[in-house]
């Protein structure tokens, strides 16, 4: 796929339309990628970004339109076909085989074989090692993939794309599960790829990232192209306006409610296994305590531990809600004490995807809603309607499977599940991960409403602007210990990052 003319794009998609049954998800979209650029594909969830890259990656076939490479029309037909054309897509859900080694994964699907189809292991390992070296990634090629942290798995995925001599690399929200230093490493890698002449298509919801690496930006909304320009001509405000199609007020509308002195949640000397060591803090009624930290800080484990996800044996310390001590034993006991946890992985641990919106929204409150064991479908429907309306969940029908909703709406259903239990303390772990700007703003406003009604919130987020803007107080953790605490006024990104890296005050 060598491209002689630098002005000609590596790949050009023209007039792409896609219909799923009667639903038009893409309408006449033009998109191209040039050598040595990062082309941001932006848009709210459901705007058609994923469909577009799936067409490019050979997962779907376009209903109309053509894909051209080097001036010739091509048809990827399948992911393998796309690979052969030099197009590689790295999806949000990584497509590595967890039980295989790094080297085997890199050559997955097209192993180096010798006589009789036997895999030439040693040569593969050698090639893989050289490849990773070239990319500046220090990973043992014989390590089994599932033992690597998620950030390194992502690097392996990129190496895999390069092993296939991909010239067009599509990355779908690659940083959604990465911590700041890993993001930096990824960006360095992307810079290297640009220099070597690859074209990168990059999907992200994080404005700071887009500002940082974009060369060109294309915005989709409701399946249509609404704007495309070089990065310099597309400031963030304009980008957001194009994505949402309406003016948004300030992005983070935190209104700190009138202060009270009462502690809703008080935690003393809390530890879980090795991940969290002797953590103490308190959250007042109506307060949002933000927890900052990098990957492995133990913040998620702290919330899981408080919620009883590890049971009662592996945790120690005192937990009080409204002054009343309760023994952490399991999610049921925590729920009864008024504690709710929104996990950071809505598909893996938050929602039952094959179940209906109603089924999910009432799951945590099921015992209250079915006195004597017999369910009351009408009460369930009413509860669902109440919270789904309050959260502005968009679904044609509350009987549809939750898995068929967009990410933002799924997240709202996961939240509705906990609101239906009438919580006093909300533990929110990455509440806005992977959802679009409109839905994010909805959730910020809801957080204001909840705190106004007296709920105490503990918020974990890996997005620095969100942490700074939404928290009334910020606690920073590093390797399971608290390494800093800042009031809203004194917190800055620098101070937080310093503490997060273990620099003690």
């Amino acid at each position: 796929m060598v491209n002689a003319d630098p002005d000609q794009p590596l790949v050009r998609m023209r007039g792409i339309s896609k219909r799923f049954g009667p639903v038009m998800v893409l309408e006449g979209v033009d998109f191209d990628v040039r050598s040595g650029e990062v082309h941001i594909l932006a848009g709210e969830n459901g705007a058609g970004k994923s469909t577009l890259i799936k067409i490019l990656g050979g997962v779907h076939e376009a209903s109309e339109g053509v894909i051209e490479m080097g001036g010739l029309a091509v048809k990827p037909g399948s992911p393998l076909g796309a690979n052969r054309l030099g197009i590689s897509v790295i999806y949000q859900e990584l497509s590595l085989v967890p039980g295989m080694t790094v080297a085997d994964n890199i050559f997955l699907g097209r192993p180096m074989t010798g006589a009789g189809g036997l895999v030439r292991d040693r040569e593969q390992r050698e090639r893989a090692r050289r490849l990773l070296e070239k990319l500046g990634i220090a990973i043992d090629v014989e390590e089994v993939v599932e033992r690597l942290p998620i950030a390194q798995q992502q690097m392996v995925e990129i190496a895999k794309a390069l092993a296939r001599e991909a010239r067009v690399i599509v990355m779908d929200e690659p940083t959604s599960s990465l911590a700041a230093p890993d993001v930096r490493k990824l960006f360095e890698l992307i810079a290297g790829l640009k220099k070597s002449g690859c074209g990168i298509v990059y999907i992200s919801h994080k404005m700071e990232e887009i500002e940082q690496i974009a060369d060109r930006i294309t915005v989709l909304r409701d399946g249509k192209l609404v704007g495309s320009a070089v990065a310099a001509e597309m400031p963030v405000e304009k980008l957001i306006r194009l994505m949402v199609g309406r003016e948004l007020g300030e992005q983070f509308p935190r209104h700190v409610p009138e202060g009270t002195a009462e502690a809703r949640l008080r935690v003393e000397g809390f530890s879980t296994g090795r991940a969290v060591k002797n953590v103490s803090f308190a959250v007042k009624r109506g307060e949002i305590l933000g927890i900052g930290g990098l990957q492995g800080s133990g913040a998620s484990e702290l919330l899981l531990g408080l919620f009883g996800a590890y049971g009662g044996k592996r945790v120690s310390g005192k937990v009080r809600v409204d002054g009343e001590e309760f023994a952490v034993r399991g999610p049921r006991q925590s729920r009864e004490a008024g504690v709710a946890l929104l996990t950071n992985d809505r598909k893996g641990t938050g929602l039952v995807l094959p179940m209906s919106v109603t089924g999910n929204a009432t799951l945590a409150a099921l015992e209250r809603l079915s006195p004597g064991g017999w369910r009351r479908p009408r009460a369930e429907r009413e509860t669902t309607r109440e919270y789904a309306t309050a959260l502005r969940v968009k679904a044609a029908d509350y009987d549809v499977e939750v898995g068929s909703l967009s990410g933002g709406n799924q997240q709202k259903v996961a939240i509705a599940k906990w609101l239906a239990t009438g919580p006093r303390v909300l533990l929110l772990d990455e509440p806005t991960r992977g959802i679009d700007i409109g839905a994010k703003r909805d959730i910020y406003q809801l957080m204001n409403e909840w705190t106004r009604s007296g709920i105490a919130i503990v918020l974990i987020t890996s997005e620095m602007p969100e942490l700074l803007a939404m928290s009334d107080r910020i606690m920073v953790m590093h390797r399971g210990e608290v390494t800093g605490e800042f009031s809203r006024g004194e917190a800055t990104a620098d101070k937080i990052l310093k503490a997060a890296m273990g620099d003690n005050r």
Binding site: V352, S370, R375
Partner: protein, 347 residues
């Protein structure tokens, strides 16, 4: 979100009608509709190849349902387990164990059925309980735990019976045989009601399925099983009592295998330790043909009823047309594949 809105561009005009039309549309594409189609197809084949009108006689339908009933009871329990994301391979052996116990207590020891029936059902439930504890408490894979219980229960059946069929010919101390009457309870279970048009076992089976349906669709426990099968970790973190709910599914399955064992003994008028071989696989086939997902989290008892009728009628149609057993088995295998392919294609 826009996808869902775009599906109904006219929804502002008549939302009620639209909702209903969409619901009908959803049903037409649902697992239930496909199960109905599969059954309709089998019945149509029966009408076409009716073996000189044999398929239209009431007796044929009565027998088809009677023969499917024991499988139906097992499939009922299997549905609960499969929806929770598990599988119960032990049910066939539990049928044999309970059939042996029932014959032993009622025929040989002359127990009153008022005592024998609860004891036998408890034995079935206990087998399920052990599987349940192994799966829910000790985290064994359901396939392994129930495979072990399958072997163990078969051994128990052979041990309790001494390896022989427990029948109305009772061995005396001197080695001679005396014959006792077939117990009344056996005759009762194996009789027909409603003018001889319906077998009692069929009613028992439908009763089990009805209770199963109510529990699954209307009881909190049913919803918990769906949640566990759909995403066990999410269910646990929502405060669902995962262990209890999951364990109870195996208890229910064992209990229903116990009911099936009573019926089996009554129909055969003996307790055969070799009975019920491979029944678990037929039960799984019924559940799967109905459209309940082996991955858990999706399905229902109504689907299992349809699956049971499909398999039952298929078998009957092949037998009234005198298709030899070899052909019957091969055809059934093929049809399972076709049915499941039809179920999975749309997902």
């Amino acid at each position: 979100m826009t996808k869902l809105e775009a599906r109904n561009p006219k929804s502002e005009k008549n939302p009620k009608l639209e909702t209903r039309n969409r619901r009908v549309g959803v049903f037409m594409r649902s697992a239930g509709m496909r199960a109905v189609l599969a059954l309709a197809l089998v019945v149509a084949i029966g009408c076409l190849f009716n073996a000189d009108g044999a398929f239209f006689r009431v007796g044929t339908h009565r027998d088809a349902l009677r023969q499917a009933s024991v499988y139906g009871m097992l499939a009922c329990g299997m549905t609960l387990v499969i929806i929770s994301g598990g599988i119960d391979l032990a049910v066939g052996s539990v049928v044999a164990l309970v059939a042996v116990l029932f014959s032993l207590t009622v025929i040989h020891w002359g127990w009153s059925p008022w005592v024998a029936v609860p004891v036998c059902l408890a034995a079935g439930g206990a087998c399920g309980g052990v599987s349940g504890v192994l799966v829910a408490r000790f985290g064994l894979q359901p396939f392994i735990a129930t495979l072990a219980m399958m072997v163990f229960a078969r051994g128990m059946a052979k041990w309790a019976s001494g390896g022989e069929k427990i029948a109305t010919a009772v061995k005396n101390a001197d080695g001679s045989y005396r014959y006792v009457d077939v117990p009344h309870i056996f005759r009762l279970i194996d009789s027909r009601v409603l003018g001889g048009n319906v077998s009692v076992v069929t009613l028992i089976c439908l009763g089990c399925i009805a209770i199963g349906w109510v529990l699954l669709a209307r009881h909190r426990w049913g919803r918990e099983l769906y949640a566990i099968g759909g995403n066990e970790e999410a269910a646990r973190l929502s405060g669902v009592p995962v262990r209890t709910a999951k364990g109870m599914a195996y208890v229910a399955s064992g209990l229903l295998a116990g009911v099936a064992g009573l019926c089996q003994a009554a129909q055969e008028q003996q307790g055969d330790p070799e009975a019920g071989m491979g029944y678990e696989l037929t039960a799984i086939a019924i559940v799967v043909i109905g459209g309940t997902s082996l991955m858990g989290g999706r399905g229902g008892m109504g689907l299992t009823l349809l699956g049971m009728l499909t398999i039952g009628y298929l078998d009957k149609i092949l037998s009234v047309n005198a298709v030899p057993e070899a052909g019957r088995l091969m055809l059934t295998g093929g049809i399972i594949v076709v049915a499941v392919l039809a179920q999975t294609r749309k997902r």
